[in-house]
Point group: C2
Chain length 268, copies 2
C-alpha cells in the first residue's frame, strides 16, 4: 500500500497486549482495509505499557496527515484508564465514534463527526431490508458504551420508541416480547430464547462470545446472544452469528474512515 | 452582591429577545441566586442580535474568573444557531450541562462537569422520597435536549430500565401503564390521563405550559403535562405544577454553580 499513502484513506490502529479476541478482531479489520485499499498503520504496545505510552502513540496518529481514522482496540488492560484513552483520540479522527463529544452529538440527534460502527451497522441492516424504524418499538438488550448505548441513542434519533434493558431489568422477556425490533448486545450466549420474541419481530444479534468447542480445530466457536434455532421459527428476520452484524460493523469502520479521508482531501 | 464578587459563586446569564416565558424563568433564577448569595451577571441581547454578538457575550463570561457558571436561556430566536451557541459555552462552566461533551459523558455513565438541572432534579426528588431507581421500570415521555433526553440518560445510568416515548410512539398509554416511575416532559397540558398510570406509580411532571386563564390577573396559568386530579387518585406520589419539579430544577442550577465555584476556588 506504500505508494498509495497520502492518496488513499488511512486507518491508525492501536493494539495493546495479547488478548486473543482483540487480535482476531484486528486481523479482520486489517484484512478488510487491505481488501478495499485503506492503508493501515498498526501500532502494537505490550500488555504492561503505561498510560503515557498509549497517549504518545495515539497522539502521533492524531497528528499524522496520512491517518484519517484512529481506533484503539478495546478492552484495554485493566491498569490503563480506557475512558481517558478514548477521549484522547481526536474527535475528528474518531472513526469508532466513541469520543464523549461524538456520543453527545449522537445523543442530541446532531451530526457527530462519526456514528459508532455497531449502531451504524444496525441502521444499515434495517434500512437495506426496508424495515420501518420510525415509530417502531425497539428493545436494546445491553447498554455497553461501544454498542448497546449508542445503538439505543441512534435508533431513538431515528424516532423509534426505545427501551434499553440490562442486568438489573426484571423480567426482560416480558418487555422484549413487545418489541418490533430487538437488538441484543449482552455477550451471553443464547440468553435470548424463542419465547422472548414477538412473532414477526426483527432481530439483530450483536453478541459474539467465544465458547469452547472441541469439535473445532481452534477449540472454540463464536456464538451470539440469541438462540438462533428457536428464534428463527418465530421472527421474520434475524442476523446469524458469526457472519451477521459483525462483518457489517467492520464495513462501517471502512465507511467512516473513507468519509474522514474525503473530508480531509476536501479541506486539507 | 458587589462586595462578594470574587469570594462568592457567580452565574453568568445570557438572555436574548423578549419571550415572556424566558423572562419569567430568568426572573425566577435571578431571585433564587440572590436568595442564596450567588452573584449574577445578566447579559441581555436584542431579539435581532447576530450569532457573533452572542458568541462575544458568552466568550466574555467564559473568560471571566468571577463567573463560575454560564447559561444561555433557551429557546433562542430562530435566526440563531442554538446548538452552536450551547457548544460555545465552556464545558467547565456549563452549569446547564447541555454541552455535547457533558451530555456524552452523562450518556456514557461517566462524570460530566455538570449534570443538567432537570434530570438532576428528578433524581433528587426520587432519592429524597427514598424511591428505588435501580431495576425500576421508567417511562420518560418526551426527548427534548434540555430535559427528556438527559433524564432518560441519567435514569439509565442509575440502572433503571428506561423507555423513552415521543410523538411517534404508538399507543403511549400502553407502555406508560407498565412504568413504576413516569417522567413527563411533553409540554402538552393534561396529556397524561389517570388511566395511563399504573396504580401506585411515581409521577414527575416536568411540563410547564402557559394556558389562558381569564380568572387570573396575568391572564394565564402554568399547567403541567399530567392531569393532576385524575392522576392523584391512582399514583402513590406526584409533583404538582407549578411548585413541583420546577423549583427543584432551579435549585439544581444553584447547586451546579456552587459546585463549579468550589472547584474554581480549590484549583484557581
Amino acid at each position: 500500500m506504500k505508494n498509495c499513502i497520502g492518496k488513499c484513506p488511512g486507518l491508525g490502529i492501536v493494539l495493546v497486549g495479547q488478548r486473543h479476541d482483540s487480535h482476531t478482531f484486528i486481523r479482520l479489520k486489517l484484512r478488510a482495509c487491505h481488501e478495499v485499499g485503506i492503508a493501515t498503520f498498526l501500532k502494537q504496545l505490550p500488555e504492561d505499557c503505561s498510560q503515557d505510552e498509549v497517549y504518545h502513540v495515539v497522539s502521533k496518529l492524531n497528528d499524522d496527515p496520512d491517518v484519517h481514522g484512529v481506533i484503539v482496540q478495546l478492552p484495554l488492560p485493566r491498569h490503563l484508564n480506557e475512558d481517558k484513552v478514548v477521549e484522547f483520540v481526536s474527535p475528528e479522527k474518531d472513526v469508532d465514534g466513541l469520543h464523549p463529544l461524538n456520543i453527545g452529538m449522537l445523543a442530541m440527534g446532531r451530526d457527530p463527526f462519526f456514528i459508532p460502527c455497531a449502531p451504524k451497522a444496525c441502521i444499515e441492516l434495517l434500512l437495506r431490508q426496508g424495515i420501518e424504524i420510525t415509530g417502531s418499538r425497539v428493545v436494546v438488550l445491553g447498554k455497553s458504551k461501544i454498542s448497546g448505548l449508542p445503538i439505543s441513542l441512534l435508533l431513538q434519533s431515528h424516532l423509534a420508541t426505545v427501551s434499553t434493558l440490562h442486568a438489573f431489568t426484571d423480567n426482560p422477556e416480558h418487555v422484549t416480547r413487545q418489541a418490533d425490533i430487538v437488538v441484543s448486545d449482552v455477550g451471553n450466549p443464547n440468553v435470548v430464547r424463542g419465547h422472548w420474541l414477538k412473532p414477526g419481530a426483527i432481530v439483530i444479534d450483536m453478541g459474539a462470545t467465544q465458547v469452547k468447542d472441541s469439535s473445532r480445530q481452534c477449540g472454540f466457536r463464536i456464538t451470539g446472544d440469541v438462540c438462533y434455532e428457536e428464534a428463527n421459527k418465530v421472527v421474520s428476520a434475524i442476523t446469524p452469528v458469526p457472519g451477521g452484524a459483525g462483518p457489517v460493523t467492520i464495513s462501517m469502520l471502512l465507511s467512516n474512515t473513507l468519509e474522514s479521508a474525503k473530508r480531509a482531501f476536501r479541506f486539507g
